[in-house]
Subunit: 858 residues, 2 copies
């Protein structure tokens, strides 16, 4: 028998701890401290509950003594974190023939019998694990319920309150130990050995004489976070009945023309609830949802949990709490999970919508969109030209599809992973994307797509993509708009004041730069200048350059691209000025710009006045076994220098144009895929020469910075050499991860889930920076680079730049900034601020929430 | 005017130095020290020659004083290394009207006029840069030659000996400074600022009265190195005339039934030459080729150079010198350039053959072969089955072609580099290969190939591949057989006694193991176990496994491969026992084993009783964007564990079988493409389980070692972790280089030559290990691995394992062995011995040839 000390009657001064007794127990203590009318409650520690699960008999007699002569109780789960789940609440423990009779006199026999019957049923189902259907009996009464129970179990229904209570406790304790419950809570971050606290509470009866009933109230709108009394009240009910009741038997809380309300019928109760709401908001520093019961007119507060809310509402709540000086701005910033912001940045499928899912894939880019199905880039552009929303479906996307991706509202692919081409481009464009939906079957000839369940959709059919959840839905869905309103901006302004590492955006076009600016990026950290070539007119000219016979012809073709690139760069400089813009010179292999289909080849042959055979031969010539490791980046810059010459000229001429408007434009030019110092020297000397030419032609002076994208392991190892010629190094962690692991992100999807599930990799290294391997290369490179050049600017411009853990790592290496997709900039800003708050200056210890600081992390 | 001290009359004690005066000057001093009858010779230092080239006037009067009253001289080039080239010798300087008259009385007027005329012509051509055709005059005499000269130059032919000599010296000095001469000698390793010495020698006249003439003699056969007097003698001649003369006017040296010989006509002279040959062999510790002149019966030795010889002859010479105790065994080992050995291991095109080259490519695998052209693997196998030699021509090869490559005598590809698939396989098979012959044009439909010059060859036409030179030749060529005879074996046995790092071979089949054993490899360092699957029968079964519906079907198909792999492994263990065999588990992506052509897909569909569409879909499913970085190696081992299970069982059963024959077989099992410790743990636990099963089934005990192939940068960085589970680490430097640079060896060919020519990379990092980048990873990994496990076995098993510089690096890291293609094993053994001699123990200073140690590196 366990020591009765393991039962802790909750008083303002009792030793109740969240880690021992769970969040619910702790919260109830706080409500009591705030003077709320909470019925007597006893907390059982996780150790006690674990012992009970193991078959030990608690001292139920001692437990019951806490409730004096009041023998009817509820038991609720109290895990350390509310989202770890736990067994459902059991009410009315203690009801038996004797007590029914006892309560009949106080509540009326109908209510007493109803309570008794409710307990019998929930005990049968939750404790004895019987099927509730056994109570499908006409004119069900306590008596025939008891008989049914006895028939089923060959045992009489327990009349002893101690036995009832022990069995309830044991049943709940054991439910917690079940495998599926454990896996579920571990998926929410619970440790494998997480324990469960329980709270035993004296029942307040919402059924019975006088004004009795129960309800739930909160003081914010869950979607918007705006102040509003929300909830239901149901006379003659208990628990959370009011929430599941229909409109006929429940009441509105506030005055409502659709029906009766608590505000009208019991204004004193309503006002008291509002007062208690204010007390809890101030005292608990949170917006709570309160469960209350009226027992013959007397108000009891049984429980409170954080009011449920969208990410958008959460931002509004913390901002409002800070503005009301209930919490500090730092606390407000700390309370928002940075990743949750991404939900705010995009339109989402309404949580109330009914979903008809016909395929699932990887949630590759958040947000939702509805549109007509199209199967190629051309159809997408046609639809867009006609003002029709469309969803582009491809087996997988390639740079040829980028124009179509720009025209579409969302992207669905059968192949590819969270960092494949489709995903990266979609995130950059802020488009929802479901990638790797392997259960769809595309028939490009018939222009149809079969879903996982066999339904077939044709071009023009309307579908909805949910890129947040990775679902593909039939038809149009109601949407919730993006939530980047005042509170969002206010909170991020606070974050900007706190953080100590810069945040830039990756932006490839003036349109991207506008988004980056909207999200207050402190500059462009990566402009993939080749993305500008995907415009129809530009692609044709670029292809001419690729097919040029010699350097002279090539330069001539490229000179036609010059004004277009110059205009793009000038616009980006204008949009961002005086913030810096870092332009990465042409990077991908040339074959990415050539058609891969027969039709595309014929079309190109027409355009170039060549035979299809010749075009095909050139395409074949340029094709590569491992394009990722092929003729791209600086290798092109050295072997086909005309491209970089043209780009450098476009950059410098654009900078002079934009500077002449008064802004100070200092372009940053970045060389990709470097693996040796000599590559930098060669490219630098040509670029310096172009700059000198431009200056002498225009008679203007020009400042610029030249840097290197460090994305090969060798560039990291040789960063000391390379930094002698570079004023900045920016780590391309996507490629660095690919090369360090020997792992193509395009091909890794096939086994990454197996790998992560089996714990081979703790996480997908394309999502969370691998600090042990890739990170060591970053650390080595940072140290070696700064050793040679103390003021070397260091940054990360891969996808990891928007990942909070990766930002933490970059900050620990002393990097100057991170750069990420525009739509991840807010996340990075917030995450960076949290890091600065948690680990200011040189402090190395991990920040932990103080146990009793008054902040309720429920 | 330069100080006359810069002219050094060569005496036994004169201050003549190779670095200052050149190799020829030094060699002449040695001949003089040995008492040879060398005419008076004066050495000009490189500084003097450079000043002359710059226009300074030397004190020719002082120079001439060294020759007293004898005014006729020769000038020869004397570079520091003989193979750096230099201007041709000029004879008879000093001949003018006066001297002609003087010599007419001593030599006869005909000889004197001939000498004078010879000088006029060579001065006109070499000094005045005139065209020799101007002397195409009927009845050419001194007088009309002098007129022709005057007509052409508007100047009289110089009569002043000082003027003649100055102009000759200046002309030779300036020829050395020319751009093409400089590039040529730099390609032989000369520094950019290498200078030229000159030697001025008193002429001995082989034309004139009495027994006069000149000749060349050496004492070895240049092809075999066997002792033999070889050369020609020509009466009434000078210089090297004897070598260019016809059979009618030259004499054999030794008695010969085809005509007169020096041995018969002048036995005393012949015997004296043989004596001097022996003196020079012993004194110079080399086999020399001696230029001699008889002047009225008196013998003069004018010059000596190392006797020209094949690599095979060089081995015979140094072995013989060591056996005669003229040089030490260490010297013998040091004298052979390891890379030169590869010429001995293969049949070569005879150096005397006339070549008709129709295409050139990369010399990807040495040796030569003649055979009929075939355009696919099937045709190659058919030809082989009919006993016909064939040359396989492919655009590029893939693993599908391996069977055809086995059947062919040589491989020619249009694409691919020195480390592409074709090259690597060909080197492993010891087949000649010319890869990346981009100037051929293959028409696979017509089964024809167009050469660089437009000639078209059809299937069945006979061609010859020269993989040593990278040439493709029309027709059959005479061949020189491989030279791995007694001297070769003897020398390598000495090398084995000296070296202190192990040499193993990469061998994938029992046949390869035989070759490895022939070349005395100390074990197999890398057996790519998947190569055994390319047999016709095996490939089909493997494909069944790939197409299996589930793990059970897959295991069933694989179980049919088990006996085949077991038999291969057992044979390899038997061949190598008691030497170790390291077996790398299955590595390549599965799609490499599937057909890529339509015909192959249809054939496979037939074999598997599936529709071609289904087969195509599966092939598409498995195809990868970057196969190098995809689903291969340990990733397959973890996601499709049945393959490794089968292989482990085959290895252990084979080891037990082979052990039962008395040998001690301790197989080494190697896991490829590891990037995380957990991968090793997972595979290790399955392999240990298989071993336990096999032991319990057979009742035998079994020892084995488990190790990891370190080929990703991450595995190198995490070598400390990984070594906790590995008893050896073997560096796969090919893949490591690819990943460290972000550079696919299959695609690098396109720009590697540009890169090396522009000095972006000092060398192709696939040929010479990149010590700064890849090397640092190897060093880090070695240190971290040994820190965790002091007795960790370390090795390199990439292509670099056979590269002398890379071996030096591996040895400096304390590696236990290198492993390379069987045909590179002799090279590695020799290179390793040289390292041990040059840097014994801890000595870190680079070995240099002592300036005056008597060893002539001419």
């Amino acid at each position: 028998m366990l020591d009765h000390l393991n039962f802790e009657l909750i008083t303002p001064t009792a030793a109740v701890h969240r880690k021992l007794h769970g969040a619910r127990a702790k919260c109830l203590q706080r409500l009591i401290r705030l003077g709320m009318p909470v019925p007597d409650t006893v907390a059982l520690s996780a150790a006690t509950v674990r012992a009970i699960a193991g078959g030990q008999q608690p001292d139920t007699k001692a437990l019951l003594e806490h409730f004096g002569s009041w023998p009817v109780l509820s038991v609720r789960a109290s895990p350390v974190m509310p989202d770890w789940g736990g067994p459902g609440t059991i009410l009315n423990i203690g009801m038996n023939r004797t007590n029914e009779a006892f309560f009949a006199s106080r509540l009326g026999s109908t209510a007493a019998a109803a309570l008794h019957l409710k307990f019998i049923r929930s005990y049968a189902v939750d404790v004895a694990r019987l099927d509730d259907e056994m109570f499908d009996i006409p004119n069900l009464t306590v008596e025939n319920a008891l008989s049914a129970y006895e028939d089923e179990t060959d045992e009489a229904f327990p009349q002893d309150v101690e036995v009832q209570l022990f069995n309830v406790l044991k049943s709940m304790a054991r439910a917690w130990e079940g495998t599926s419950a454990r896996l579920l809570r571990m998926s929410k971050g619970a440790p494998e050995d997480a324990g469960l606290g329980l709270v035993v509470q004296r029942m307040a009866f919402g059924m019975g004489k006088g004004e009795s009933g129960s309800g739930v109230i909160q003081f914010i709108n869950s979607d918007s976070g705006d102040a509003q009394e929300v909830g239901r009240y149901k006379p003659q009910s208990q628990g959370r009945d009011a929430l599941s009741g229909g409109e006929n038997d429940t009441m509105f809380l506030t005055q409502d023309k659709r029906g009766p309300s608590l505000q009208e019928s019991k204004p004193d109760v309503f006002n008291e609830l509002c007062r208690l709401g204010e007390v809890s908001r101030t005292g608990l520093r949170e917006e709570m949802q309160i469960e209350f019961t009226l027992e013959g007119g007397k108000l009891f507060i049984l429980d409170a949990v954080n009011a449920p809310r969208s990410a958008r509402a959460e931002v509004a709540v913390v901002t409002s709490l800070a503005n009301d000086e209930i919490i500090s701005r730092e606390d407000a910033v700390l309370r928002i999970e940075p990743r949750a912001l991404s939900e705010l940045l995009h339109q989402q499928v309404s949580p109330k919508a009914k979903r008809d899912v016909f395929a699932r894939g990887i949630a590759a880019s958040p947000g939702a969109a509805t549109g007509k199905l199209v199967f190629d880039s051309f159809a997408a552009q046609t639809a867009a030209a006609q003002g029709e929303a469309c969803i582009l479906v491809r087996r997988e996307t390639s740079p040829e599809d980028v124009r179509g991706m720009h025209a579409a509202r969302g992207i669905l692919t059968e192949r590819g992973g969270a960092n494949g081409h489709a995903a990266v481009i979609a995130r950059g464009l802020g488009l929802p994307c479901v990638a790797g939906a392997t259960d769809i079957d595309i028939n490009t000839k018939a222009r149809t797509m079969r879903g996982a369940d066999g339904r077939v959709f044709s071009e023009g059919d309307v579908i909805t993509l949910d890129g947040t959840k990775g679902q593909v839905l039939v038809g149009a869905m109601p949407m919730v708009e993006a939530g980047i309103g005042g509170a969002f901006r206010e909170l991020l302004t606070w974050a900007d004041e706190m953080r100590d590492i810069g945040v830039r955006a990756n932006a490839d076009t003036p349109e991207d730069a506008e988004v980056a600016s909207l999200f207050n990026a402190e500059g462009i950290g990566l402009c993939r200048t080749e993305h500008m070539f995907f415009g129809e007119d530009r692609l044709t000219v670029l292809r001419e350059a690729i097919f040029a016979e010699d350097a002279e012809d090539r330069a001539a073709a490229l000179s036609r691209l010059l004004p277009m690139q110059r205009a793009d760069f000038r616009d980006m400089f204008r949009i961002m000025a005086p913030r810096p813009v870092c332009l990465r010179l042409f990077d991908p292999p040339l074959h990415e710009f050539l058609p891969s289909t027969r039709a595309g080849i014929v079309e190109l042959a027409d355009a170039l006045d060549m035979s299809a055979r010749e075009v095909q031969a050139r395409v074949d010539d340029l094709s590569e076994v491992n394009p990722m490791l092929g003729m791209r980046g600086v290798r092109l810059g050295i072997t086909v220098p005309e491209i970089y010459d043209m780009q450098a000229r476009a950059i410098f001429e654009a900078a002079i144009e934009a500077s002449s408007e008064g802004a100070v434009v200092v372009p940053e030019v970045m060389i990709p895929l470097v693996s040796a110092k000599r590559e930098v020297e060669i490219v630098k000397s040509r670029i310096d020469a172009v700059a000198a030419d431009v200056m002498s032609e225009t008679g203007k002076t020009l400042e610029y910075r030249l840097g290197v994208m460090v994305e090969t392991p060798r560039a990291a190892l040789r960063a000391g050499d390379i930094a002698t010629h570079a004023s900045f190094l920016s780590f391309g962690t996507n490629d660095m991860t690919q090369m360090t692991y020997g792992l193509s992100r395009d091909d890794a999807g096939r086994f990454m889930s197996t790998y992560v599930n089996q714990g081979v990799f703790p996480e997908d290294p394309f999502l969370a920076l691998d600090q042990d391997g890739v990170g060591e290369l970053l650390a080595l490179a940072s140290e070696r680079g700064r050793h040679v050049r103390a003021k070397l600017t260091l940054s990360v411009c891969g996808e990891h730049g928007g990942d909070p853990d990766s930002i933490e790592f970059c900050r620990s290496l002393g990097m100057d900034y991170v750069s990420c997709s525009p739509y991840r900039v807010p996340i990075a800003r917030l995450a960076a601020a949290q890091l600065a708050i948690r680990k200011p200056l040189e402090e190395d210890d991990v920040y932990e929430f103080p146990e009793d600081d008054g902040f309720v992390p429920l």
